[in-house]
Symmetry: D2
């Protein structure tokens, strides 16, 4: 039976002075397996990851863990508790509108000077020093100048400080109404098959503020910078071994502890593959795993306002011309067209759709894989 520690991290204060806190659970690994960071619920309505962390804790405490594991549920105490009507307004700071998952930090300009210092050093040293540099950089951001930090940066940077200490990072999210899907850096494609997730998005080396990018882009850029100098430094080697994923667990505003157990086992299958846990109990399921590149992951915006009957099923190829949805426009009944069928002129896999039937012209209706292939 593994022991874990629990810490309450202070990440901010509300107007009343109420502290914003985040619970942090830690297992100390028994061996030299890779270290792992898993967080959930950075977007307030995307709660299912908390249930997955619950099930992970229940399972992990009863197995042999070889690398350090840090688990952070309720990562965003502002978003988690912010209601507007019955729903949780959790994708963005209610004051500023800034997406909570676009506030992490990466300044590419640290790479080149670091590489210059590293010429001739061995991979283990480079790995250790770059990890320290990233932690130091984020600590400097937290120990900010006189003008301060935004509410979201203070939360994000503290989470990022924990994440930079790990080799493998999983950020648990959900879509609005959604199938399960995985954001995976292109170089880590092989790992996608260890998750029981039928759809994988392969993402490039571009930092746009999200946690997965903030933790894998620095390493990828580092590898590239060495390569430009003709030096091989591989982040997929067993020594360095850096991967980050955003795991989309399904739909938001839902807790299902039984499904969470399945998702926890899927994560354990990946961790077993990476030798984080000393077991052979967790094997990925056999399934067709579809993938597409991020540039081919398309948002389809509603061509009109109206009320949507979503028709397309998630996760299966939808032929060109087949309806995604039909839109009701009762204001047109009797003197116009009250029912509009929407389709695309190419084959797609619908991955998620908007959370409400009521949409404005231009609301993001569906997100779909185009030019998809199997892994």
């Amino acid at each position: 039976m593994m022991k874990f520690s629990k810490e309450v991290m202070h990440v901010g204060e509300m107007a009343s002075g109420a502290a914003l806190t985040v619970p942090v659970y830690r297992f100390k690994g028994l061996g030299d397996g890779p270290s792992v960071y898993i967080q959930a619920n950075m977007h307030g309505a995307e709660v299912q990851g908390n249930a997955v962390i619950f099930q992970l804790l229940e399972l992990l405490r009863n197995m042999e863990i070889m690398g350090d594991i840090t688990l952070v549920p309720y990562a965003n105490p502002v978003g988690c508790n912010h209601k507007n009507g019955e729903y949780t307004l959790g994708r963005f700071d209610p004051i500023t509108g800034v997406n909570w998952n676009r506030m992490y930090h990466f300044d590419e300009s640290i790479i080149k000077p670091f590489v210059q210092q590293c010429i001739g050093k061995d991979d283990a040293t480079i790995e250790r020093d770059f990890k320290l540099l990233m932690i130091e950089t984020i600590e400097q951001k937290l120990d900010h100048n006189i003008f301060g930090l935004t509410t979201g940066q203070r939360i994000a940077y503290q989470l990022q400080r924990l994440a930079h200490q790990a080799d493998l990072v999983l950020d648990l999210h959900t879509g609005p109404i959604s199938s399960k899907h995985l954001y995976c850096p292109e170089y880590a494609k092989e790992s996608a098959q260890y998750f029981d997730i039928p759809h994988t998005l392969l993402i490039p080396n571009v930092f746009d503020g999200a946690l997965d990018e903030a933790t894998f882009c620095p390493w990828w850029k580092l590898q590239q910078a060495f390569a430009e100098l003709g030096i091989e430094f591989s982040i997929t080697s067993q020594q360095v071994n850096k991967e980050s994923f955003t795991v989309e667990l399904g739909s938001q505003e839902q807790i299902d502890l039984d499904v969470a157990l399945e998702d926890a086992k899927s994560i354990l299958s990946y961790l077993q593959h990476k030798n984080v846990i000393a077991t052979t109990d967790y094997q990925p399921s056999t399934m067709t795993r579809y993938a597409c590149y991020l540039k081919d992951y398309k948002a389809y915006y509603s061509p009109m306002g109206g009320m949507v009957d979503y028709l397309a099923k998630f996760g299966q190829p939808l032929a060109a011309g087949k309806p995604l949805a039909r839109i009701l426009r009762m204001d047109n009944y009797g003197d116009g067209d009250p029912l509009h069928y929407l389709s695309l002129d190419q084959e797609v896999i619908p991955i998620l759709h908007f959370a409400s039937a009521s949409v404005n012209q231009g609301t993001e209706l569906y997100k779909v894989f185009t030019n998809f292939f199997t892994l």
Copy 2:
């Protein structure tokens, strides 16, 4: 093939001057069947009624209609279009918090003087004159004094003016996440079996601001006032025949045109029973129909904050002690109780639950029938 007319009713103005309008569809009856008023979407997120009105229009235009029918989708153009995040904030005026379905008007003090004037008159005259009185009263409210009307009153009173012209009134709503259920005045219990709705709430003669109450309470009070004088005036007679229902069609934030067709047929079954339509095509389904009195319809408020895995199925009796839900409290993991099962000490039928998994202590978690019986 029946003709219908379409009118656009102006119910208000926004800050930009944009007009708030509501479409009104009308069939003129071929005979002397009762007149009907059906509206939908007074609460912004409760959109499915619009789809039911769509299907009703599609069906009605192809049958023989004996009484006048008025259909009003998109009854509340403020609520319908008001988003906060992805969801529609539609239960209350976003400025004042007042529930859109608590703004209708009924002033009981009109009853007694009216009854005094009616002594000796026949039922048809009384019916006609009281209908006129109610229309006149609401028109006086619309033609307000110098201090004006609230945004919600201006909308509600205009809808109510239409509803008072009808004998039978259906207000189409939905719950948050919900089974189908029917609010039915106690005196109209016999009519509940003509709807394909397995749960009926029997409501007393108390006006609390809703449209169904605003249209049946005046008639019921009138009947009672005559009875107090020893005069029989029956509102369930074929001559008077006044009934109002709130029809809860299922869950909010959803449009399903196929389910809407079933619900339209269920309404036609009721209208056929009332001789509004000249057909025998629409028969109610055979099903167990549960009912309870409004005083036994209980809200269950969450005894703690947390994230809810809703367990109880809707519509079936749940034995005392069986779990309604379990609440995850990850902040307690490791040094407290992270999982709480909630149950009641009596048999209930769960009818609806909260729309989100995230609840505060005191959030309305479930609504349940207690002391229920079959119709």
Copy 3:
């Protein structure tokens, strides 16, 4: 120098498990002066009362206090911290729309049985027993049945439990954009002149859910019930001495510690008059004090949507026909009337206006005294 105690009262939990707490400050009186309860910020945006409590604490700790005083800032930790955009959404529960100051409890049916038990008892006994009854009643509400309490009730009842222990109750609020004004029960009119507040609303013995009503209505009803039996029991006697006020300190969304000091001194002037503090330092200012009855306090709803240039100054009589505001309607420029002047056909005193220039048709534009008089 007076000592005070500080307690942190637990009033609820959020979804993350975060505790909702309220600080409670208490002075123990040196003599037998009346006891006092003062709270602030039940509506989230109405923050200035917290600054007044700060200044009261600063002043009170340096004087001789004869009665117990309880001070509660940040009374509503949900409302206080709830932002939508830059502003605080604080008048109502963001989930349900229920006004936070309409959730207090009073069940009139307790009065008559109590009076029956008291016949022949002296005033001091009656006073003591009724106070105990009210505290016991609210404690029973808190120790609720299996179906639970709403979030707002749990907060309100705990505050009310504290308030029932006091003789004099002050609930510190603000208007949206507002002059200072006082809600005062009709029977306590004499006390209004001890506050430096130029406008007083005289309110009747009607319970509508607010704290002032919840604390004075029971006593007033009690007095009336005795009177109906021909027994004199005076709640304005020195022995019983029960008064409750809602003090409207000006505009919301503002903290001004200098103005707060003036308002604290105004409250001390009242407390000195009531012999709560042993000093003669605080005298009310000489000013014209206008009053009107609650039935004559009129809301004026905007006759159109548009953008409002508020013209009428607060606190001074505005002659009939003089403009309250002008409304810009740029959508009408060129082919309609872009500028509308609004006025009333009677003399009024404008007390407050809406917080934003953008209004819908039917938005509450101004609240005004009509049929006003001087105290």
Copy 4:
């Protein structure tokens, strides 16, 4: 007396089918003066610009106008009408959180190919062709691909299409609670003195999605691209003469028609200087005009949660160490520090502050000029 035309531009649809429209006013110039585009209220709460456009229309129709002028009030019909509580939630799309003034378009890659085509052409031809290119580019964006446009893009691109037809562009905004200030491209610094605005921000050639940038950056980049080839093409020449400003008129949520008249005259002073109007009536006031570079315009984020008494006056230099604000923390009273004074260690000019007294740790409290100078 000048004639103007009025057009209603359709920019979108809501869920109910309600059209989103924007009024567009146009004067046709009598001569060959520069053309002008002025819009207001892109951010919903920033309404004062509508009043300025009202006053401009009133003044312009009575003078001799030499260049075409287009005026667009109520530019954003979603933001303008979106309430949360009493205030207007207008800085960002309530569904997505995206700032309405970050959705304009500029794709720098059009510059180089265009320049190659222009070698040897005269300035007038280049000016005409580049204007056409920009209009064509934005029309292609509007005539989008099958995946569609967001709600905000559809609005922004239609406004931008109008703006690209003009030489001089003014986007009328306000701060939250704010002094008047002007965003001015560095190259147009000379023009800042024609406005009666005491604070000018000099902004670089960086496109971040705002309208001013979307209209001046293309020209500035064009000038730079020619310069790189050693060709002089001056956008400040009388022939080309391209300038764009964001005019911050003061505080949001307010309409003041009298102040709007002053601001309209200030704009006319600039238009007179540019020979758009044939008059000498409008001269800029003599005042100290402070300026700073955008990089020196600093946001100061609150170092703690609490309730803020804003102390620093706008528009005047504030010495290092002098208080900007004091923050009340009643939860600390008695066992901590209830009052915190905030200051900076350098001289600044406070320009605007947050709209509410209630702030979280990390809320943007003030924006200030540092390293400022006089124009």
